[in-house]
Amino acid sequence: MQKMVIIGAGMASGRMLEHIHESDPDAFDVTIFNAEPRGNYNRIMLSPVLAGDRSFEEIVTHDDNWYADNNITTRFGERVTGVDRERKVVIGEKGEVPYDKLILATGSSPFIIPIPGHDLPGVVGYRDLEDTDAMIDASAIRGSSAVVIGGGLLGLEAAAGLRMRGMEVTVLHIAGHLMDRQLDETAGYLLKLDLEKRGIKVITEANTKEIIGNGKVEKVLLDDGTELAADIVVMAAGIRPAVQVGRDAGLDVGRAIKVNAQMCTSDPDIFAVGECVEFNENIFGLVAPLYDQAKVLANTLLGKEDVFTVRELSTKLKVTGCDLFSAGDFAEGEGREDIVFRDPKRRVYKRLIIENDRLIGAVMYGDTADSNWFFGLIKDGTDIEEMRETLIFGPSFQGGGAAASDPLAAVAALPLEAEICGCNGVCKGDIIKAIEGGVTTLDDVRTKTKASASCGTCTGLVEQVLAVSLGDDFEIKAEKPVCKCTDLTHEDVRRLIKAQELKTQPAVWQELAWKTPNGCHVCRPAINFYLLSDWPLDYQDDLQSRFVNERNHANIQKDGTYSVMPRMWGGMTTPDELIAVANAAKKFDAAVKVTGGQRIDLLGIKKEDLPEIWSDLNNAGMVSGHGYTKGLRTVKTCVGTDWCRFGTQDSTGLGIKLEKKLWGSWTPHKVKLGVSGCPRNCAEATCKDVGIICVDSGYQISVAGAAGMDVKMTESLVDVATEAEVEEWVTAFVQLYRENAKYLDRAYKWVAKVGLDWVKEELSDPDTRKALVERFDISQSVYQKDPWADHVSNRAEQYKHLADLTLEAVT
C-alpha cells in the first residue's frame, strides 16, 4: 500500500479524505499531522460558536472514531517542521514519517499588522478554536470591551459574536466602507446601519497607530488621537497562506505554493490543497473552490483524470439580520451597465452589473431571496437580453408583469415623525392626520396644518404625501427633478436630508432611492453642498463631488491652465502685497489682469505650479480669493470717510469686516457684497447679492440684486444704526440662504421663490437671527481656512503627475 502523509487536518484535506474513502478506502496508508490539537472541524462555524448559537462539539466534522474507522494514523497537536525530499520523509516535532505521496494542506494564518503592541497578550487573530475561546473568555468579564481591527467578513462575524456576548465592540476599518472588497458604498452603508443598530460601533477610514498596555492590552490608539478601551483586540486584517513548510522544502512558491490543475506542486510526489495553494495567480479564501480542489486532488491520487478550474464566488455574511450577498466581478472589462433598485422603506438595495447581455456581478442588501437565481445567471453566463427590463425584480417577475421603480418610494418610507415643513414644524404624521380627516388638496393642507404655507419649499413633499395617501385621486404638479438619478426636486432633497438626518452621500442615495450607483456630475456637487451646509461637523466634504475649480481652488482656463487670484480685503492692498503679486507673476510667467471685483488675477498658471505659487503668496500673508467658488467672492467697497468728502461712514472698514466674517463659507451659488459710503454708490452695492449703503443715520441693508445675466436692483431688507447690527443681519441672511436655497440659485432667484416677506419675517425675530449666526459660526469653525495653505501642506502630491513614462521604450 502507498504511504500518504498529509500536513494539516483542515477543511480541504478533510474533504479530500472523504472522497478517497468513498471510492477506494484501501488505496493509501494515511498519516495526518495537525498543529491544532484536534482533527477536522467546520471552521466556518466558529462564528456561531463564538456567538453562542452552537457548541464546538456540534461543528466537529471528523471525530476520533471517524479517523479510527478509516484506519488513519493521527498526529494531532504536532507541528511538521520540515520535509526531506531526498529521503522522502516528513519531519514532525515528535519524529519522522516516510511518504510516497505528500499532501500540503496547511491553510492560512491571520495577518497580524506589525504595529507597536501587536504582540501584547490579548491580541488575537480569528482562525481557530483557541482564538475563539480567548474571545469567549474575554467576554466573560462584565462590561469589558473589544476592538476588532478589520471590517471584512471575519472581523464583522467576530464583532457580532462578541456583541452577542455582551461586550462593548468597536470595529476599525481602514477603507471608506465596510467589506469594501465585496460591497459597494451603499451596501456598506446599510450594513453599517444594521451593525450600529445592534450596538456595534463602526469607525471607517481608521488608521490604527498603536496597541497600548502594561503586560496585556488596555487600549487602542488611532492616528487621529482617538483612544479606545480594549480588553481584547481581534486582528482580522486579512490572511496569509501558510507556505513555510513548502518553501523550506524548496517547492515553487509565489504568493502561495504553486500547483497545476491536478493540484501537483513542482515536485511530482508532492501535492497541495486549500488556502495554501496558488493556481494561475489566484489564491483562495472561501471553501467552495477548496472543495473543488479536494475533489480534483482525490481523483488525481486515485489515477482518475480531473482538472481544477476557478469558478465565480459569492459572499454572504453569517450575522443574523445583516442580509447581504455579493458575487462576480466589479472590476476590469469594457462595456458594462448597471441596474440599480432601491427600496428605502424596506432598506433594500440591489445592483446588477451587465456586460454583453450577460450578468457578471451582483450586490444586494436587505433582500437576498433571489441571490441564488442571480448567482446561477452569473455562473452559467445566461443571455439576459430578453429579461433586461425586469431582471432586477427577480425570477418571479420573468415571463410577464412589468414593474417600475416607484417615484414616491422615498416619501412613502418616511416615518410619521419626520418633519416635512421646516418653517412651521409640521411632521408627515400631522399631514396624514389631516388627510384622514378629509383633506384632499394642497390648499386644504396649508390651511389645516400650515405645512407649505410659509416659504413654500416643501410643497413638493406635501404633494407627495397627499399622493401616497390618496393614490390616483391626487395628481402632482410635475416639478423638475434634480437630475436623471432621482425623481425628487432640489427642495425635496434638502428637506429630506434634514428630516431624516442623512449625513453621508451613500445615505442620501439609498434613503432617497437614487437610480444610479453613485450619482452624476449634476447631483453630486449639489448633495455635497447640502450635506456640508446642514451637517458641518459630521459630514466630510468630498472633493471628488466638486467641479474642477473648487477641487483645485483655481479657475480652469480653456487651455487647461489655471488662474490664481488672492484676496484683497475690501479692495485694499499694500506695496508689499503688490510686490509679492508682481514677483509671482514674473516667476510663473502669468498674464496680469485687474478684475471687475477689485483685485488682481494671475492667468495661465500650470496645474503642477499651483502649490508653489500659492505658497509664495501665502508667505506674503495672502490667502485664496475664492474667485472660483460657490461661496463668498468679493466685498467691493469705496474709499468712504477715510478719504471721500461725501463719505458718511467707514465703508472700506465695514467691507473688510464683512469679508473677514464671511470668507471661506460655501453657499448655494456665489455671494458678492458691496458697501458704498453714501448714496452715490461708487461700490455698485445696489446690484449685489447683499448691498450696504452708508447714510448719516447708519446703514441701509438691501438684498437680492443681480448684475449678471439678469440685472436687478436690490430690495431693502432693513435699516440699522451700528456696524455690529449690519454684521448680524448680513450673516443671518447668508446663513438663511445657505440653509434653504436650491443649489445654483443666486440669492435673488431664491428670494423670488420664498418671498422677501418671508425672509424679513424670519430675520426680524432676534432669536432666529442669533441662532442663524450661531450656526454660521459653527460652520466657519470648520470651513474658514485658507484652502491654498491646506492643499500646499496636505495635497501637493495630487497636483503632480503620477508617473512619467516618456522615457520608457517599447518592449
Binding site: 469594457e334 450607483p517 463631488s545 467641479f547 495630487q798 503620477l802
Partner: protein, 109 residues
C-alpha cells in the same frame, strides 16, 4: 503586453483621477470604486478639455469644460454627443497599478 508599475491604488482618490505622462500624451487614470481603475486618454474629444479634472460617476467621467460625458470602459461619448477617447489596459495587483505601455504606444504608432 508590458505591464509597467506606475504607483499605488491609494495614490488616486476614490472617484478621482491622476495622470501619467507618456510619449503618446497624458493618460488619465480614474478610480471608480475601491479597487476599480480605468485608463484613458486625458484629452476630451470635444475641445481637448483635461478629462482627469472631470467629475467621476459610475464608470463615467464628465469633462470639466463643457460637460461631455464619456464611458471609461468603451471611451464612447454618451448621450447625444458623438466622439471617442482612447482606452488602455490597466490592472490592480496587490494594491499596485500596472499599465500596459505597449498598448499605449501602439496607439501612437
Amino acid at each position: 503586453m508590458s505591464w509597467i508599475d506606475i504607483g499605488t491604488l491609494n495614490d488616486i482618490p476614490l472617484r478621482g483621477s491622476r495622470i501619467v505622462k507618456t510619449e503618446a500624451g497624458c493618460i488619465a487614470l480614474f478610480r471608480t470604486a475601491e479597487t476599480e481603475v480605468f485608463a484613458t486618454s486625458n484629452t476630451c474629444a470635444h475641445k481637448k478639455g483635461p478629462l482627469s479634472e472631470g467629475i467621476v460617476h459610475d464608470r463615467k467621467v464628465t469633462c470639466p469644460l463643457h460637460n461631455w460625458v464619456f464611458s471609461l470602459e468603451t471611451g464612447e461619448a454618451q448621450g447625444a454627443d458623438k466622439g471617442r477617447i482612447a482606452t488602455y489596459p490597466v490592472k490592480v495587483q496587490d494594491g499596485r497599478l500596472l499599465l500596459d505601455l505597449d498598448a499605449v504606444l501602439a496607439k501612437v504608432a
